[in-house]
Symmetry: C2
Subunit: 656 residues, 2 copies
């Protein structure tokens, strides 16, 4: 699982009140935008659920009834035995007494029946097998009379022909299909699937499968939206990508309308131009209803009508696009199926960070969730509208309504769940330094126990200890070197977690050094040669930065002698990527990161990366599972085989 970056660099997609280069966008409240769309659909006669089509039961799972369904057959459709026993005519048993057995001949006055068997002619009751004695000459002795219809399931007891079995607008589950077949149906009238045409626009977009050049982006928003539409019960087709041309977009819209879909989506490219084209084309061909909504992320939503067909312009950034799908598109699809909006399961969770929200917006934040010390904690993920990882990592969506300034750290907020609560509750939250091999541990945990999930939020080593103190994480990853004692982590743990008894469990020994361009063009062979190079640094509080500062001190180099000291990356791979791209000449980091990016590496030291585990969480079943995976031969073997890692001490508890 990739590290879930905290909100570090704000990267807003919002385009507001732009100068000449942009047209004006409204900031219409979400509810008002929905109301305008609804009114336009109503006026166009397109608000009602779609008509029905006849579908075979085998293809009907998950689809929605377009009319109430009535039984064509009664169930049972004949009188049948409700017990294993003997069918008799009740009148024949009138004289049976406990003291005076009545004798019936098997096959004449009494007939063996199993539960479910049809009642033989001239019988109207069943005597339970336990209440009968069978003689050797095939006669039955009965000790009590029976009432008519005793232990008989009467025809229609369950369902009578013409009775309503399923209501209209009902989404069919497996048992519903059984009931329909059982009462005589082989087909059912179901709501037609709403059809959506998706038009991706933007000259910078390329289809998946092509390697994008610099400045090009893979077009995948249509895949997200098509899948959201499919989940909601509709079906979508995606047209060719339309370049930045009003004329081309106009033609594409006209083509799309030709197949009479329920809805057309125009996916904006990232450029403001393609966005403007959407509004322009709608205004030319129909009516623009909404041009920008007060939602973060997602401002640049466009809504219009061409003829009687609604058109939604979806913002180009993936997080905005996905949110537009959830807030505006899925509810439309469900409405056309006769279903109400899906009510998400919501929980109350405490925010681990202060969140500042723009007063005028409905603000939606993706959060990671975990239960720590019995409290659900929500950690906001990096906010940028372009951050794909925040989409996959989110456990839930927090909504901070308009006219709210935000949420304080420690304050409770409502979160709609993207995973089940039980999944959230079995999540192990690691904060602190993020070692890439924590992902390997998460994989092994997942394979060992499918219900468990470990996520790792990168806040740096010291950040992890602070998070533990605040009760925001189950454990922390740390590799903090203390020059005074020449030990790792322990002095820092004592400093930051004074009152919290903790165990340090060794995760790995890792090789740290200088990450250098391929072929080491400057021939760097020792740390002191760093002077004069453009350096790529790590963020404050990162263990690697602590180590770098220590090395500078050892070599009596001042921080301001280092060009690029202020250029901060938040991961090893980030540093490697910056070196690979020539932003810097070197950076401090892991051998594994250098090799992953095909870079050179000058090894300087082996350091210990520990898991810091508060004793109060140590005994939980989740932590016990994690530790047994950590100590497993399989995991240690795979970890030790990685370049720049040693696992011989992995799983050992550090002596305090």
């Amino acid at each position: 699982m990739p590290a879930a970056w905290l909100m570090s660099r704000p990267c807003e997609s919002t385009v507001t009140l732009m100068s000449k280069r942009h047209i004006y966008l409204e900031d219409l409240p979400l509810d008002e935008a929905r109301a305008r769309l609804r009114a336009a659909l109503l006026a166009a006669g397109r608000l009602a659920p779609l008509p029905g089509e006849v579908v075979a039961l085998a293809d009907a799972l998950g689809r929605v009834t377009a009319e109430p369904v009535r039984a064509k057959l009664s169930s049972p459709h004949y009188h049948c035995a409700a017990m294993d026993g003997y069918a008799v005519a009740a009148a024949d048993t009138r004289d049976a007494r406990e003291t005076q057995a009545l004798s019936l001949r098997l096959g004449r006055g009494a007939h063996a029946v199993n539960t479910g068997d049809p009642l033989p002619d001239n019988t109207d009751a069943v005597i339970m097998i336990e209440n009968v004695n069978q003689t050797d000459d095939g006669r039955l002795l009965i000790y009590a009379s029976v009432a008519p219809w005793q232990h008989v399931r009467l025809m229609g007891e369950d369902m009578v022909t013409t009775e309503t079995v399923l209501q209209v607008n009902h989404q069919l589950r497996p048992v519903d299909l059984g009931a329909l077949a059982g009462c005589g149906h082989t087909t059912v009238l179901l709501r037609r699937k709403p059809r959506v045409t998706i038009i991706p626009t933007g000259g910078e977009l390329v289809s998946p499968g092509r390697r994008p050049e610099r400045g090009q982006l893979i077009e995948y928003n249509s895949l997200i939206l098509r899948s959201q539409i499919r989940e909601a019960g509709g079906e979508a087709t995606t047209s060719e990508i339309v370049g930045d041309s009003l004329g081309d977009l106009r033609s594409a819209l006209q083509d799309a309308l030709g197949s009479a879909p329920e809805l057309v989506l125009v996916l904006s490219g990232s450029s403001a131009g393609s966005h403007d084209f959407t509004a322009g084309a709608i205004e030319e061909l129909g009516e623009l209803l909404v041009h920008g909504i007060a939602v973060r992320p997602g401002h640049p939503v466009i809504i219009g009508m061409i003829g009687t067909t609604p058109i939604i312009g979806v913002p180009g950034y993936p997080v905005s696009a996905a949110l537009t799908g959830e807030l505006l598109i899925a509810p439309l699809i469900r409405g056309w199926l006769g279903l109400s909006r899906e009510e998400p399961v919501t929980v109350e969770a405490v925010s681990t960070r202060k969140i500042v929200s723009p007063l005028g917006d409905d603000d939606f934040l993706r959060v990671a969730l975990a239960e720590i010390d019995g409290r659900l904690q929500a950690t906001p993920l990096q906010r940028g509208a372009g951050v794909i990882t925040s989409l996959v990592q989110a456990d839930g969506l927090a909504h901070i309504p308009r006219f709210h300034e935000g949420v304080d750290r420690g304050q409770a907020m409502r979160v709609s769940l993207y995973r089940s609560l039980s999944q959230v509750k079995s999540t192990i939250m690691v904060m602190g330094s993020h070692d890439p091999m924590l992902d390997l541990l998460a994989t092994h945990l997942r394979l060992f126990s499918p219900a468990r999930r470990m996520i790792s939020v990168n806040v740096g080593s010291i950040g992890g200890l602070i998070a533990l103190r605040r009760g925001e994480a189950h454990l922390a990853g740390s590799h903090l070197f203390d020059p005074a004692t020449a030990t790792y982590n322990l002095p820092f743990t004592r400093k930051y977690l004074r009152d919290e008894p903790c165990q340090l469990v060794i995760f790995a020994q890792r090789e740290q050094g200088l990450i250098l361009p391929p072929g080491n063009p400057r021939g760097i062979s020792e740390f002191a040669e760093i002077r004069g190079l453009r350096y790529v640094n790590r963020q404050r509080g990162a263990g690697t930065r602590v180590l770098f500062d220590h090395l500078l001190e050892q070599h009596r180099i001042a921080a301001d002698e280092i060009a690029g000291y202020e250029h901060e990356e938040v991961t090893h791979l980030g540093v490697a990527a910056a070196v690979a791209d020539g932003i810097g000449d070197c950076g401090m980091g892991l051998r594994s990161a250098a090799e992953a990016m095909g870079l050179d590496f000058l090894g300087l030291t082996w350091e210990r990366f520990d898991l810091v585990i508060p004793e109060r969480t140590l005994e939980t079943t989740g932590l016990q599972a994690l530790l047994s995976v950590l100590r497993s031969a399989d995991f240690k073997r795979e970890l030790g085989a990685q370049s720049g890692y040693r696992s011989d001490q992995t799983g050992e508890v550090v002596e305090v």
Copy 2:
């Protein structure tokens, strides 16, 4: 929505300790049965998740990753502008001051960029559009210096090549597909779908589409199980129905094993014979592990192994079959996909009935749920293992564990939800007399407001008033005639709901009379001629029975003069079905019921059917929606058009 019968006639499918005609069944606890199956799968090397297959992203929604997925491309894969503005070289801006603007030439020292655009060569920072003044001659005035990489999204800031994007054993959602496409994938390695072969057995079974003769049953359990398997992520094929022959079953099993499925299901017919064949065939070809589990309903489950393939014998009754699918089969499928058991959402609900459970069994009861006066109330549905309607009507499943005797009325119990809690909470629960046209009202309500659902539990008119007093229903349907005052319902409401202010709202006027065989063969023309006929009665507390008793008294006929007075049906349609089937010569009921079954009818009186609504629930939004639908012209027109109904007073409040 059909009426949800209360547990009236116990109709147990359980086959225990049978005499000669049956073989012995164990009563193995559920957990023990699961453990045996698990151990056998482990020994056979068949417990692990299935291997992967390469699938195109477009087909991957809802499927499960078979390995962790790493980024093939960084995101962004080039440095790009994080804001709309101007890209510059930070070093060029060093001398800009608030008091001393720096001038840059557009297109040379500064380049206009939109959010997401790649950074032009020789630039490393973006100045926000708001912080710049543009002169008429195409120059930019800048009032502050900028740091390198300010407002720049660095390459890899979101994801760096080689980083883990998704974990193994992860079920893919729309956003996950987007993330995979965005980091360079077009395919993904997914767990192969577990394959199941289903063999229906039983000589009495016919395939859907054929009209079953007396003694024949439509085979639909395979449809339920196939759909459950599909929902869990597997795929199932159903073989031809196998008759009651050990040899045929053996061949069918061998055929099934030939295609190497992960699992074979043998669906028992209702006869004990077909059940025995399953156990016999498994013993012949492999090993029988479990022969009967202590679960109600669902005792006759069989588990075995043939070679390394698990075989499950599924009980023949639909409720038992569906429960076996939930408890045993779906978890197997999910395990093969690398997913944990799906944890159902559970709620605490108060039982409205006393429930008696067999001490040795895990007892599973389907219940209807509604929130009344802020409390979730669970009403057990008819228990029989053959009752299909209990499958479609259930809102949840209550589990009463082994060694518990049951649950008292008013006692809380845990219920696993089959519908979302918000759906349950928006359910309007009607108890009392069930008029078939209440289903029409439910349909209109559903069309008017898709989120609302009305269900009607048939407990008879007086039962409904008692349910209101106990706070078990939102409203009650009632048609109780009081001879003393010659009025409907009011005296009874006063008697049963003394302290509860209620409103009576007229639902309909209905025509009551004698339901007679087609053509009225005995030429019955007035009520008094009922003497000497075999009568089909309604249950105690039913309004129709009250009316019948009143008519008897009017005509000075004693109850014991009426043959069949003790034969009770619980619905109008039940009475009609009994007359249609010749069980009785006549019964009292609605014209609509007689006509639905193609019977004759002797009209005797028009009666008023009211909705009794406690004032405390009257003001809820649900009741208000229901009343506005009841009073709508559409509904009244459709109701009034039904034979035997008048709707001119529908919706009127009865003067108290």
